[in-house]
């Protein structure tokens, strides 16, 4: 059993890192696009407003206000608030918030457990009676994130599942995969909670498991803990096939699309990029389009009419 657990855990982490990396690289390599920003940049009153530069007379002669740190702060802090849900659908926020917190914390918990194991291998005891303050801190933080994750995630999973079943606006857009996702996560959180209650109240055994993984000497754990480890490994393998990447691509969606108001100034690098994009050939077949010509020729009216897609 120990080898099965170890194999799935190794594979799970490798798989998700590889798949997410591939997906993110693919996303970032999408071509530069026409602008389609939406204002305000940073909604609400969390941080001072940036003055939109188009409000300035001859805006191209003036510096543009853009606070990247504020933007990042808003985006990262929102993981822990889900402000729009709170503002617009309080009932749903009550379940989707703990669900997301459960998800973020379970990832954090597993990462902390890895580091806890690593530090123990380097001689730092991770325990309430550790001689190292860091070890004591890591012990309590790991314990707290684990427990919060399992409790919050379990409550949230049940809540989102009920919401999807009861609310017709959510049910009509759900698929069997949606329900499977909810149930699967519910099982992961439940198994984690049971592990904490029944088998591993300090998560020290889980750190031992991780130590075994790090030194390539897998160990056995209690059955309930083994179930949780296995389910979590399956979750890592399954996540790339869900919409979970939105945790990361959401950042790009805001920074590279919704708030991307970078103007194309004459002689800029961006202008060169635009020129390259315009040299691509398009193959649309609408009657008004000269299929096979470049975007530049089609736009400027220099494409041969004989190449019409009609």
């Amino acid at each position: 059993m120990r080898f099965v657990l170890a194999a799935f855990t190794y594979f799970g982490y490798l798989f998700i890192i590889t798949m997410y990396s591939v997906k993110i690289i693919k996303y970032l390599r999408l071509p530069m696009h026409l602008r389609s920003e939406v204002y305000p940049v940073i909604p609400g009153d969390q941080v001072p407003k940036e003055k939109p530069y188009y409000e300035n007379l001859e805006w191209w002669t003036k510096p543009r206000q853009q606070n990247k740190l504020h933007r990042l702060w808003f985006l990262f802090s929102d993981y822990f608030f889900l402000r729009e849900y709170f503002r617009r659908d309080r009932g749903y926020w009550l379940v989707v918030y703990p669900w997301h917190i459960g998800f973020i914390f379970i990832i954090t918990f597993h990462i902390l457990s890895f580091f806890g194991a690593l530090f123990e291998l380097f001689g730092v005891s991770v325990a309430p009676n550790s001689s190292s303050l860091f070890g004591i801190g890591l012990y309590y933080v790991s314990l707290a994130t684990g427990v919060i994750s399992f409790v919050s995630g379990l409550f949230g999973s049940i809540g989102v599942l009920i919401n999807r079943l009861v609310r017709s606006d959510l049910r009509d857009y759900a698929s069997p995969q949606t329900y499977f996702n909810y149930l699967f996560l519910l099982m992961v959180f439940l198994s984690g909670l049971l592990t904490w209650i029944i088998a591993d109240p300090t998560f020290s055994e889980y750190r031992e498991f991780w130590k075994g993984l790090i030194v390539f000497k897998p160990i056995d754990v209690e059955t309930v803990e083994a179930v949780h480890i296995l389910l979590f490994a399956f979750l890592l393998i399954y996540l790339p096939f869900t919409r979970s990447l939105h945790y990361i691509t959401r950042l790009f969606g805001f920074l590279l699309i919704r708030w991307d108001d970078e103007p194309n100034l004459r002689g800029s690098l961006l202008e060169r990029e635009v020129e390259e994009a315009l040299e691509q050939k398009l193959n649309w077949k609408g009657p008004h389009i000269q299929s096979g010509s470049t975007w530049r020729d089609v736009a400027s009216g220099e494409a041969s009419p004989g190449r019409s897609g009609v």
């Binding site: 696009h33 026409l34 188009y54 749903y92 919409r243 969606g253 100034l265 315009l278 649309w284």
Partner: protein, 534 residues
């Protein structure tokens, strides 16, 4: 189909309209009686039109796709649709919006947080087909089945086993013309998903691959503009006649002898008006001429093809047409060697030319472009023009054109002007970036054929109607003159239709107009009031 909830999977089922719009279902407006509307709202189609055109979405027709005459014709249409769908996700064919499209298709979790932001969805009585996530979900399922080629099991798991036929395609073509592209739904999405953009991309698929688009925005719109110079059909000689007429009007009404500069080389400013102003609201052109003359601005109009019509309908449905029109606009400016271009009071022209085409125009076509609002603000706030707010002493509310405000961030200049020159200025709620679309966005203001006007007046414009009436709720008495400031030609067109349909002019003495008219109306040096109350 009627009587039960419509689902995405119903889109291909042949038969009756998926929904029927009844006045009792519409969002109530206290000052307007539901009984004032004639049933059914989707009236006005002839029997022949009903027979020949696909009108089984909601009974309204914006495009009117003829039914195929044979099975082969239907198959050919389906094939073309799928080819277009594939191209939407290819870099060469859709570098323009691939990233936003992929992001929106991949990230939406269908939490429906955006639904209540959509004025058409809410005003219709929450008809499912108008929900912002409905169209993208349909597209997602089509992609799963026909582009990704998911097998039977996965199709069941993702609920994507959906049949693609003429009915679905025709209904989808109509349905993407039930979204005004106001992007209020985008604004609230915590994941950065842009469901309005998905509608716009589907419009593009139909136009760029199948040659399907509403006649008013394609043949009579961009095609005509590129050919004769304007979507109104106004040719350069006709423009000269109209400008001469406007000069006479200024002289007659205001006693001012103003020569409107045409094709003046090396001017500081090329002012680009929506040609609709020349035809329907010449007072807007007059006001700019009077103000710029008084402020000694070195400006000009252009009489080049498309150089006198700022509209760019391509921004609503077709990247190629959008780029062509933008290039024409820039060429007109280049020819005159102007220092900058100011886009007049036209919302979508602002966005098309200043924002969207920003990554189309390069080199000597990349001429500085800005909104006319900061320029107006400078004239008003700097004291260059003497103004007397008492001349505008009547209730004024401000409509925010989505393209200028939510999509460009120009929120305050127009407000600072109104606060200075209109003592009874009152905001409508919500306002600024949160304001609602007039209901005529994305081409609806100019789509008037068949029975579409009823849809835009009773559904997409209903929220604006409610906002206007609420803004003026304490002064609805018809003896009090009231002014809806709508600094955008298309918004003015839609608000005109709303005022007519609901008799707000006679009933409540509400009129509408632009921003510059209010500025000129407040000018101390003008003897007679510029704004005429009819």
């Amino acid at each position: 189909m009627m009587g039960r909830r419509v689902r995405v999977s119903d889109m291909g089922r042949k038969g009756d309209p998926l929904v029927e719009i009844r006045s009792q279902d519409l969002m109530p407006i206290p000052a307007i009686s539901a009984n004032a509307l004639q049933e059914p709202l989707s009236k006005g189609l002839t029997e022949q039109q009903k027979r020949e055109l696909e009108c089984s979405l909601d009974g309204f027709v914006a495009i009117g796709i003829p039914r195929p005459k044979s099975h082969q014709e239907e198959e050919a249409l389906v094939k073309k649709f799928l080819e277009g769908l594939k191209k939407l996700f290819e870099k060469e064919n859709n570098w323009t919006f691939l990233q936003p499209l992929v992001h929106s298709m991949d990230c939406c979790v269908k939490c429906q947080l955006c639904s209540e932001s959509c004025p058409a969805y809410v005003a219709s009585g929450r008809k499912e087909i108008y929900r912002p996530t409905f169209r993208p979900e349909l597209l997602r399922r089509l992609i799963n089945k026909y582009i990704k080629g998911q097998g039977t099991f996965l199709l069941k798991v993702t609920r994507s086993d959906i049949e693609l036929n003429f009915t679905l395609i025709a209904r989808l073509a109509e349905l993407v013309y039930r979204c005004t592209l106001c992007r209020r739904c985008t604004q609230v999405c915590p994941l950065g998903v842009d469901n309005a953009l998905v509608s716009r991309e589907i419009r593009k698929l139909f136009s760029q691959e199948l040659g399907i688009a509403p006649r008013e925005i394609h043949e009579q719109g961009t095609v005509q503009q590129l050919k004769v110079g304007s979507t109104t059909g106004m040719t350069p000689p006709a423009l000269h006649d109209i400008v001469a007429f406007i000069e006479e009007e200024i002289k007659e009404k205001m006693g001012r002898d103003i020569k409107i500069p045409m094709d003046k080389k090396d001017a500081d400013v090329l002012l680009l008006h929506n040609a609709g102003e020349f035809m329907s609201w010449p007072e807007n052109i007059e006001a700019f001429a009077i103000l710029f003359d008084a402020a000694n601005i070195n400006w000009t109009l252009s009489s080049e093809i498309a150089g006198y019509d700022a509209v760019n309908y391509g921004v609503w449905y077709d990247d190629v047409q959008m780029a062509r029109v933008a290039v024409k606009h820039a060429e007109a400016a280049r020819k005159l060697r102007v220092k900058k271009i100011n886009v007049g009071e036209c919302g979508h022209a602002h966005k098309a030319f200043i924002v969207t085409a920003d990554r189309v125009l390069t080199g000597d076509l990349n001429i500085p472009r800005e909104s006319v609002f900061p320029l107006l603000e400078d004239l008003v706030m700097s004291g260059k023009i003497r103004l007397d707010p008492a001349r505008n002493n009547f209730p004024v509310t401000l409509h925010d054109p989505c393209n200028i405000v939510r999509l460009m961030g120009i929120v305050e200049p127009q407000r600072r002007i109104l606060r200075k020159i209109c003592p009874q200025f009152v905001e409508m709620e919500p306002h600024g970036v949160d304001n609602y679309c007039c209901g005529g966005g994305s081409g609806f203001a100019v789509i008037n054929s068949r029975n579409f006007k009823d849809w835009k007046v009773h559904i997409s414009g209903r929220m604006k109607l409610k906002q206007i009436l609420e803004a003026f709720k304490d002064v609805l008495d018809p003896t009090i003159k009231k002014y809806v400031c709508a600094p955008c030609s298309n918004c003015k067109g839609q608000i005109r239709d709303l005022i007519d349909a609901y008799h707000l002019g006679q009933g409540h003495n509400i009129r509408y107009g632009g921003l510059v008219e209010l500025v000129v109306n407040a000018m101390v040096d003008i003897e007679k009031p510029f704004i005429v109350w009819e």
